[in-house]
Subunit: 472 residues, 4 copies
């Protein structure tokens, strides 16, 4: 829905999109990124190849801000890769915008990466020992270095060698002057799907989510499989699996929060999985109330599921202001609910005296929820019960989700009762982990559930932390 | 809601907001306009008085674009009036931004106006015969001229004389160096409400809708009554009725479409009136379908009402892209559904094979609806039934709503069947006029229903048309 | 040269340019304004008529900032008037940008005005007594009001009546849908010249200075004469003199400072008049020094004249930084000469130990000169003598030059010796008034010399002051 | 003076400035770049170290556009290096903006480079063979790679090893977290000077030209010597010469054209060397004419010298428009002299019938000169003689000046007579090479004169060309 509309919510690292074999490659990539904007709002970039030269444009900002008719027209060629990156403060910098492009022995390579490598520090150290220098803190820069070192082996073997060295989550698009390559880690943490463009001439799209395919009217073929390398060039598409098969570890948070509801992720539609989370919530926790409602654009679909399963009416008692810019001027005097109200205003006349169930998709720090609940109280709501469509989020993610550190995760170190009191609720219930897994239509052991159960499928380096790679 | 998100929908003329007696008058007016942004996205302006001087800032653009910390800080004073204006192409020009400010004999007067005067042409002619010149095509310029001509009578009598000359719809805020005045036409076409700021020192707010009061945490006192003139100065607030009482003619379209659902309009909450439209639709027209859904941000609340009354489940089968800017780059090749899809994408996996009821708030030209329906068909929806939460809109509005001309109103000149076929629907049903009136909680004869029933409460000048006032 | 490059120097009110009978009227007007930019850097505007409709575009900023290919293309028509306005802080506001355009009885009139009316207050009062209201503080708004009141007399008589009511300095361009009119006050304070465009079909240009004609490759015909009204329409050009002849009062400061040296003003080339000021300075004041030099872009031409007449070499010992923007970041610590040096840097190696004569065009407040002199001293200059190419400027201008008030004019209230000491000079000499007049090639009594001799050719209203017209 | 004001003139590669030991290091660097803006207008960048972390900001545009109070305030630290880069079309890209910053084994290194390495292709090949990848086409990226490879030797030896590998022109500023290093090639092609800041605490500045020292009120100490490495850290400043001494090859074009006249370059003041070029021209070529004049901001100082030596008066017969932006709208119809006139307008009244000597600093392609001469003819000038203050420029530069290719240099392949005819002159004379050398105050063999005499002091790689390094 609208990650980014609330700066205290978790942030996805990135979204990727690539086009092969279409004369409007850059433009179609642009549309794909448009559809994937929810996966990253910090920077956007597109690199395009005309078979000989690679040209790129990237900048800080939203896709709609970064690209214009003018600069898109300069990106001519039949093949393109694009990238959107999340917004944060620390290392927010044009130097970290992707695709990462570099030249080695006359060959230019572009890499767009979604995920997080967990052995990045060791890899950099080794490369630096061999004389490499680094301009950014991005995983994709390391990938390009590795590819260059193995270049003499030929493209396929160089990729095989490279993926044998990297560990963690990666859905990678790689482009050189005449190949588009899609690579997904053996666990399949992040989604990546493949589609066919309708011009019927062997034109393909690879993208993080199926919603990007819809926008360019491409036909979904299949997901790039965990561990698969798909290579597309003039001869067509072929793929191979350079690494042994591994147990899958799909990120369940894509279903809970990140992916767009109109996407099918890991083979299951997100709209439906979210509705089912609500249905299972209804099964797990019946509450006597006047109606159920979401905070706009967070728990919408789970609320629908809850309403349908419980028989309680669904309402939309808070109204979103569609004209709120990314920043707004603060009041000079104390207006406690201002920051909430400028975005969401309770329908006072309707809410007064009611007993309300709020369905939320997740509670990360709790600060936003707290002020929204306070705003409902101020509007005269009598009882507020909150149902969360996932278990308590207690552990950090090493595979590409920018959760705040454990100490800032409200569920890490507080009991449910403490959280309920902090938020100012009458009651609080979290969906069970079994319930969540059931909703997503797959077996429990195909998912990474580390943020809930502290079991990390791929062990990170001991000293791993995003910050450790920052410059200086 | 999101009027303005669709350029083919009707456009409200304006929203007004004024503050009296608060040291942050300009900033509070800014917040008020922020809440009223849905009433006009073309230009925004604020004028502020410090008791001696009046300073103003206005420009083309959204409130968040027009105002910055910097330029707000220069607007110092205890009293302010602000205005947002709708977006159109014809006379879109900074010269038509409001408030309109002019000086006469050392007294500066600012006027912010919502509505439309229907005898504007005669008034201008008369004034021009007496030597007046005009810079804009705005009603508010005429009002300032009239006030100046009657100035020698004193403020109250000058206002009385002025309103005796103007005919039509007007909710006016007027400010000179030490008075804030709110004026509403005797029919009360447009809403205007009065609130008290919480600092407890006789600080007031007057605004088009109550949602503006909510944002600044003001307490709603009452509506400015039709025909009433409310004068606020240091001595406090007093009011008078300079004209004989008239039958009320509240604009029912405020309930159907314009006002924000968190506002109370003409004494009734809009969220509830819209839900009731849906409930009455369910009573009037039962359809056998799998579920009911709105197009996001148009028929949301009526769809909720329909679902609750009919027992059919509510779904949200089209997903809004939250990052669509005001313009976006067009595809070079033919992608028929592109303009729809870039904003709203159907949840294909979910919709395929379903029988769907769409609840829409209104159908103006039909072009947007047609392509949305086509987009649903392309996603595999089996049956599409549309219910519209008002009767067919067949006649122009002379009182401040910028409907397209009759020839462009699809319901004017086409039968329901023809519209159904044009939109590509399996069935189409419009709410009855009685049903609509019932939903809004008032007697039929308190409303202006001209756009539906062609009965105009105040006769416009013979040659009246907005265009006739354009320059040249 | 570069008025505006130094905010403490006097500022011209405005420049005007109009085109008749050319399909690129707006573009040619744009070029004319480009050439006249030195006369006003605050705002720029162009109005164009296609014979039926008048469209305009105006905004704050330089001509190059205000106009783009895009907005110029929308200004279609065969006739245009344009205006540039000076930059100041007080009433700097888009509301005061010109041309001033208003409509009266279906006729739109645009006025662009250079000069200052000295009975503006009385005129406004009278008009307000008759019911007029005012949006701006501009003289041009009053002119449009007067024209409207006399409209029933027909264009020529209306103009005659209007000019009989206004007193002071005015070079006016007036446009309605099918006429371009140039009007100059009987004293001829401000320049205004007439040229023929080269397309040979009766296309004309009227502009403040001949340099505007050069840029569009127009042929200079003659000046619009003092008191003359030139009317251009499809039938051609004709003129009349509605008022009795008066003694001329050409502004001598146009020669001293304002006009571009490549313009011919009042029948005499400015480059040559400035050189002659230098030659006469050499005759009046011989100084023993190593060389003579100007501060870049202020006394250049007088310095050339002085060098040629005195035989002393000319040098350019201060180097202008061509990349200084309109604002620049200030140092945090004390760097006394910074503001000077960022613009002008002394050539230290060359200047050290030298005895230098500086030729300046004028000394208004003295603050800039003081710091430039200090900067030269810091570079090791041994002796600094300053020659000013006009007499001490002691009195305000009521005819269109924005001198600071008397109290800020350093020559008003200080002796030459006091000024010399304030500036830090070894000696200071001002050109005699006779010398100045001699340099400009005309009799003394054809000039207004009020800023030097306190004799005002047209008496201003008793309470006249620019500020008195400011709003509020 | 104003390279960059004419896109057909040669372009300097870059300017560099570094500050050590001052709390406002970034701001002072900013001022230094401001003074060096004439050396590069494409991009600007500053990196700053607070002893631990290095932060940078760089972007396309002028110094005044790239930096704001806001982004300068974020650049905190006592040490900084800055860079301005020339504007061209080919590889104009943010990726090529400097300083180039990269990290290796926890150490961040920034390099700002002025000059051109002539063995860059071989160096890159070798580095790529060892696994390095490249993001830009900049020499400075290669330098950082080499430094990283030699890092284990310690800073001084790593620098010594690095400079032993690079050939060509380089004035380099290098910064890591606690050292500022200035390096100049053994031939000393490009200038680099050292100054002391006035706060008396061991604060230094290193910059391309002394004019940067003037602006920040630093005291000039001495030039960084050819072949010298100056290392500044907390212990102070020390230097060493890692390479054997070489014959000097100062770029004489710095005196002819590039450097600012208020700088001392290679021990001689540029203002004076340019005047002397004019004096020697007068000795070498006497012409009977009415006066001598420069085109504004190209031959100013040589014209002064010529005037003084010949006794012919100096005039300024073309007036520069100070408000010309970097781009301007073109006329729709044919106006042949437009592009010249919009910048420079002849003083027609003065020039008519005159015999004029133009002194120009250089003639590169001849296109601009041709149209300026035509513009003078159109103004009625009778005779036009041109004197150029350097010999014919016939050969490309491999050491950092962006001359057009030989085929575009008018003097390469045309006789003087042919050039004279192309330019439309009555006569044309170029300063002799001996005369030029004499003017610059040094022996002939201390200069690189390759662009005139085709003798290249350091042999470039066989396949060297700037373009060969472009991507793809």
């Amino acid at each position: 829905m609208a990650p980014g509309s609330d700066s205290l919510r978790p942030r996805e690292e990135c979204g990727v999109c690539g086009i092969f074999g279409h004369k409007d490659a850059a433009k179609l990539t642009y549309f794909g990124l448009y559809a994937l904007q929810h996966r990253g709002q910090e920077s956007a970039g597109i690199a395009v190849s005309d078979g000989k030269n690679i040209v790129e444009h990237k900048a800080m900002g939203l896709v709609s801000e970064v690209f214009s008719e003018d600069n898109l027209q300069k990106l001519t060629g039949n093949m393109a890769v694009g990238h959107v990156r999340y917004s944060t403060t620390g290392s927010s910098n044009i130097i970290n915008a992707q695709p990462f492009t570099a030249t080695h022995q006359g060959e230019t390579t572009c890499v767009a990466h979604n995920g997080n490598l967990v052995n990045i520090r060791a890899l950099r150290q080794e490369l630096e020992n061999q004389g490499s220098i680094f301009q950014s803190t991005m995983d994709s820069e390391v990938v390009v270095h590795l590819l260059a070192r193995h270049k003499h082996l030929g493209l396929e073997k160089a990729i095989a060698e490279t993926v044998s060295q990297i560990k963690g989550a990666y859905s990678i698009l790689l482009m050189n002057h005449d190949h588009l390559v899609a690579i997904r880690d053996p666990q399949g943490f992040r989604p990546l799907c493949l589609g066919k463009l309708s011009n019927g001439k062997g034109a393909y799209i690879v993208a993080s989510e199926t919603c990007a395919l819809d926008l360019v009217e491409a036909e979904y073929i299949r997901d790039v499989e965990p561990g698969e390398v798909v290579i597309i060039n003039k001869k067509g598409l072929h793929s191979f699996f350079p690494q042994p098969k591994e147990k899958h570890s799909f990120c369940i948070f894509e279903h809970v929060y990140f992916a767009r509801p109109d996407s099918d992720i890991f083979g299951f539609n997100v709209y439906e999985s979210r509705k089912r989370m609500g249905e299972i919530l209804a099964r797990e926790c019946a509450i006597d109330a006047d109606f159920v409602m979401p905070f706009p654009d967070s728990g919408n679909y789970a609320a629908i599921g809850y309403s349908q399963a419980s028989g309680l009416p669904l309402e939309m008692g808070m109204i979103r202001n569609h004209y709120v810019g990314r920043t707004f001027i603060q009041p000079s005097q104390s207006m406690r609910e201002f920051t909430v109200r400028v975005k969401l205003n309770p329908v006072r006349s309707f809410l007064r005296g009611k007993r309300v169930i709020i369905v939320e998709d997740s509670v990360i720090r709790g600060t936003t929820g707290k002020s929204r609940v306070r705003s409902l109280r101020a509007a005269g709501v009598k009882e507020i019960h909150m149902l969360v469509s996932c278990p308590p989020t207690r552990h950090p993610c090493y595979y590409g989700i920018d959760f705040p550190s454990s100490s800032q995760l409200i569920a890490s170190g507080n009991t449910i009762e403490e959280i309920r009191d902090y938020l100012g609720l009458d009651s609080l219930y979290y969906l069970s982990l079994d319930g969540l897994v059931e909703a997503t239509g797959r077996d429990r052991d195909t998912f990474c559930l580390a943020c809930f159960d502290n079991i990390y499928p791929v062990a990170p380096d001991l000293d791993f932390s995003k910050e450790s790679l920052e410059r200086g």
